[in-house]
C-alpha cells in the first residue's frame, strides 16, 4: 500500500516522542542515519549561534529554524544528487544538506549579496522572501526537467501561511495540469508570525488542499525525521516515475513548530503561550532520533561527542569566514543587474567613485 493511501488527518509517523518505533523504519544504513542526526545538530547549532550573532549586533535580522530540523533534514536527505530545492527564507538546514556552505547563509543575513550566490554544484534556488512567490518557480523548474527529459525532481519549501496566497494555488494547479515532477513541502509550523494555522484556512488539514488539484496530499509528523524521509522519498520517486493512474506532484504537510521567533525582530510572547511552546518542545526531533539511534546501538556518548565537536568546528569556521569577508565594494551595487553595465549605470557608478575620491567613504557611511 502506498504511503499516500491514508486519511488526510492521519500523519505518517515512524518514531514517537520518545524515539520508540511506531511505524515502518525507512531503509537507511547506519551512515545515512547518523548523517541525518549530524545534519540536524548542525542546523540547530548554526541556528543558536546565528541568533546570538544577531543579538550581539554582528548580523542583521535572522529567521530561526529550531524545531524544524527534522522536516528540513529528513526531506532534503531523500533527494537524488541532481534534484533541486526551491526554498523560502527559513530552509538553510535543508540547503546545508544539499551542500550549501553555511557561511553563505551567514553572509546573506549579514547583508552581503554574495551570500545569495550558491556554488554552481549546489542545486538550490535563491532564497525567496515574498511569501509563496517561489512555489510557481518549483513548478516551472520541474516542468523544464520534464520537457527536457532530465529526470530531476523539484522540492519546494513554504510555510502554512503561504497556502493562503494565490501563487501557491496557481502553482499547484499548473503542477496538476502539466503533471510536473514537483514536491510541495509545506512546513506547517503553526504560526505565520502572529497568525495561527486555524486563522489561515477553515480546511481541517493543509494536505487535503491537494485534492482540489487532483494529486496526492499527505500529512507527516514533521518533527520525526525518519517519517519525513519516508514520505519525501516516496513523493520524489512518484514524481520521477509515477505508477499508472497517479500524478507526479505531491503536497506534503509536515506538522511541526518553530520554537523561536518568526525572525529576531519578532516577539512571540505577545501572541502565544509558553505552555504551547513547552508541549511542542517535547517533540524535539533531535533527542527523538538520538534516543532511537542509541537504542539501536548506532550512537553512543563518544560518537555524539565527536559529532558535536565536528558541528561546532564547522559553524565556528563558517562564522570566521563570513565575518572576515570585507565589506563589498560599491561597484557590486551595479553588477549583475544586467549582463554587463549599461552606459547609464556606468555613469551612475562613476558618480559614486567621484564622490568617494572627493569626500571619502564617509560621504556615504556618515562616519
Amino acid at each position: 500500500m502506498s504511503v499516500f493511501d491514508r486519511a488526510y488527518d492521519d500523519p505518517v509517523r515512524v518514531l514517537d516522542e520518545d524515539g520508540t518505533v511506531v511505524g515502518d523504519v525507512p531503509d537507511l544504513d547506519e551512515a545515512e542515519l547518523v548523517g541525518i542526526y549530524r545534519d540536524m545538530r548542525l542546523a540547530r547549532h548554526f541556528d543558536e549561534r546565528a541568533v546570538s550573532l544577531q543579538r550581539q549586533g554582528r548580523m542583521g535580522t535572522y529567521p530561526p529554524l529550531s524545531g524544524q530540523e527534522g522536516a528540513q533534514v529528513g526531506s532534503a536527505t531523500a533527494l537524488g544528487e541532481t534534484d533541486w530545492i526551491v526554498p523560502s527564507y527559513r530552509e538553510h538546514g535543508a540547503a546545508f544538506v544539499r551542500g550549501l556552505p553555511p557561511e553563505k547563509t551567514l553572509l546573506y543575513w549579514m547583508g552581503h549579496g554574495d551570500g545569495a550566490r550558491a556554488p554552481d554544484d549546489v542545486n538550490v534556488f535563491p532564497i525567496a522572501v515574498p511569501i509563496a512567490s517561489q512555489v510557481p518557480h518549483a513548478v516551472g523548474g520541474a516542468w523544464a526537467s520534464k520537457l527536457r527529459g532530465d529526470g530531476d525532481v523539484f522540492v519546494c519549501y513554504f510555510g502554512d501561511g503561504a497556502t493562503s496566497e494565490g501563487d501557491f494555488h496557481e502553482a499547484c494547479n499548473f503542477a496538476g495540469v502539466f503533471d510536473t515532477p514537483t514536491v510541495f513541502f509545506c512546513n506547517n509550523n503553526q504560526w505565520a508570525i502572529s497568525v495561527p494555522r486555524e486563522r489561515q484556512t477553515r480546511s481541517a488539514t493543509l494536505a487535503q488542499k491537494a485534492e482540489a488539484y487532483g494529486f496526492a496530499g499527505v500529512q507527516v509528523d514533521g518533527m520525526d525525521p525518519l517519517a519525513v524521509y519516508q514520505v519525501t522519498e516516496a513523493a520524489v520517486e512518484k514524481a520521477r516515475d509515477p505508477p499508472d493512474g497517479r500524478l507526479r506532484p505531491t503536497l506534503i504537510e509536515a506538522i511541526q513548530y518553530r520554537f523561536g521567533a518568526h525572525t529576531t525582530a519578532d516577539d512571540p510572547t505577545v501572541y502565544r503561550d509558553d505552555d504551547e511552546v513547552e508541549t511542542w518542545r517535547r517533540k524535539d526531533p533531535i533527542p527523538r532520533l538520538e534516543r532511537y539511534l542509541r537504542d539501536e546501538g548506532i550512537l553512543d556518548d563518544d560518537r555524539i561527542e565527536t559529532i558535536e565537536s565536528e558541528v561546532e568546528r564547522r559553524v565556528a569556521d563558517a562564522i570566521e569566514a563570513a565575518e572576515s569577508a570585507p565589506r563589498p565594494e560599491p561597484r557590486a551595487l551595479f553588477e549583475h543587474a544586467y549582463d554587463g553595465l549599461p552606459p547609464e549605470l556606468e555613469t551612475q557608478y562613476a558618480a559614486v567613485e567621484t564622490l568617494r575620491e572627493k569626500r571619502g567613504d564617509a560621504a556615504f557611511l556618515g562616519e
Binding site: 497568525v195 519578532d266 560599491p330
Partner: protein, 330 residues
C-alpha cells in the same frame, strides 16, 4: 488649544488610526499581524483590545485578498484601512490596486467610489532583509485614480492619515519606516486633518529650491544647514503628497531661486524627480539658471544592507548635488 502628546511617527500612525476608529464605525483596520500582535512595527498596538477583532482584523496571509476585499468593503461605503506589512510585499495585491482600487470610480462612472486607505511602511536604511527596503512610490503616482501620501513628521502623519481615511477616493499611504522612531513631536489629541496635496516649506532660502519627501527630508535639511555655512541658501520643500503634486508650491519655490534639486531614495529613472523636473520645464522654463539635479537611489535592485549606505542619498551626497546646482555657471 487642545492637549498634545509627544509622539514618534509610528505612534502618530497608531494615534491616527485610533482616532478614526473611534470617530467612525465604518473604519476597519485589516492586515497581517495587525490584531493581537499589534503590528510588526507596533503601528496598531492596543487597537484590537479596544475595538475588537471585527474592526481590527488579522487576515490570512494574502495581499491580493487584503486589497481586493477592502475594495469590496469600500464600494459598500465602509472606510477600510488595509495594511500591507512592508511595501515590498504589495505586489500580489498590485493587480487589485491598479485594476480596481484606482479605477472603480471611473469604471462605474461615479456610482462607486472607494474611500479606502492602503497603508504600508516603505523605504530603506534600517538594515532590513531583502525586499524590505524598496521605495516604489512612483508605481502608484503613475496610476491615475490614486492619491499617494508620504508624511515625514508625526504631526503630519496623524493629520494626513485622517484626511486620507476621510477622503472619498482611494489613498496609498506610505510610511517612511526609517524615521518611525527617529524623533518626537507634539501631536494634538483631538482629531484634525492636514490637507492632501499641499507641500510644506521646511526651510526658506533664495539660492536653490530642493524638493523631497519622506525619510529624505531630514538629511536634506542637514545638507541645507551645511550649505548655509558656505553661503548657499536652500529652500526645502517637503512634498508630503506625491500624487497629486503641489505644482503651485513647486513652481513658486523655483521662480525665486532659478535652481533646483530633487532628492528621493527611489531609483532615478522615471522617478518623481523626473516628473518634478518636467513640471518646472513646462511652467517655469525661463526662470531656470542651472540643470536640475536629481539626487536619488541608483537604477539597480535595492542592495542587501552591507551596501545600502552607498545606495541611499546621504546628507553629504545631497550636499554635493545641491552644490552642483548652486554653483553651475552657463
Amino acid at each position: 488649544m487642545s492637549d498634545t502628546r509627544n509622539l514618534t511617527l509610528v505612534q502618530a500612525v497608531r494615534d491616527g488610526l485610533h482616532t478614526e476608529l473611534r470617530e467612525d464605525d465604518d473604519v476597519v483596520v485589516m492586515g497581517q499581524d495587525v490584531g493581537r500582535n499589534g503590528g510588526v512595527f507596533r503601528a496598531t498596538e492596543g487597537l484590537y483590545d479596544e475595538f475588537g477583532g471585527d474592526r481590527v482584523v488579522d487576515t490570512p496571509l494574502a495581499e491580493s485578498a487584503i486589497v481586493g476585499c477592502a475594495v469590496g468593503m469600500a464600494a459598500m461605503g465602509m472606510r477600510p484601512v488595509p495594511e500591507i506589512q512592508f511595501s515590498g510585499f504589495m505586489y500580489p495585491g498590485y493587480d487589485q490596486i491598479v485594476s480596481h482600487m484606482a479605477r472603480f470610480r471611473a469604471r462605474s462612472r461615479g456610482r462607486f467610489t472607494l474611500p479606502m486607505t492602503l497603508r504600508a511602511p516603505y523605504g530603506g536604511g534600517i538594515r532590513a532583509p531583502e525586499h524590505h527596503s524598496e521605495s516604489k512610490e512612483a508605481f502608484y503616482a503613475h496610476e491615475a485614480g490614486l492619491k499617494v501620501v508620504i508624511p515625514s513628521t508625526p504631526y503630519d502623519t496623524k493629520g494626513l492619515l485622517a484626511a486620507s481615511i476621510r477622503d472619498p477616493d482611494p489613498v496609498i499611504f506610505l510610511e517612511p519606516k526609517l524615521i518611525y522612531r527617529a524623533f518626537r513631536e507634539e501631536v494634538p489629541e483631538e482629531p484634525y486633518t492636514v490637507p492632501i496635496g499641499e507641500a510644506a516649506t521646511r526651510r526658506e532660502g533664495d539660492d536653490v529650491a530642493v524638493f523631497t519627501y519622506g525619510a529624505m527630508t531630514r538629511p536634506t535639511l542637514e545638507a541645507a544647514e551645511t550649505l548655509a555655512e558656505d553661503g548657499i541658501d536652500c529652500e526645502v520643500l517637503d512634498l508630503r503628497t506625491i500624487s497629486p503634486l503641489d505644482r503651485e508650491a513647486i513652481v513658486d519655490a523655483f521662480e525665486h531661486t532659478g535652481r533646483a534639486a530633487v532628492v528621493h531614495e527611489a531609483p532615478k529613472t522615471a522617478g518623481l524627480a523626473a516628473e518634478i523636473t518636467a513640471i518646472l520645464q513646462e511652467e517655469a522654463l525661463l526662470y531656470q539658471e542651472a540643470p536640475i539635479e536629481r539626487i536619488t537611489g541608483f537604477d539597480v535592485p535595492y542592495p542587501l544592507y552591507a551596501l545600502e549606505d552607498y545606495y541611499l542619498p546621504s546628507a553629504k551626497r545631497i550636499e554635493e548635488g545641491i552644490r552642483e546646482a548652486a554653483e553651475f555657471e552657463p
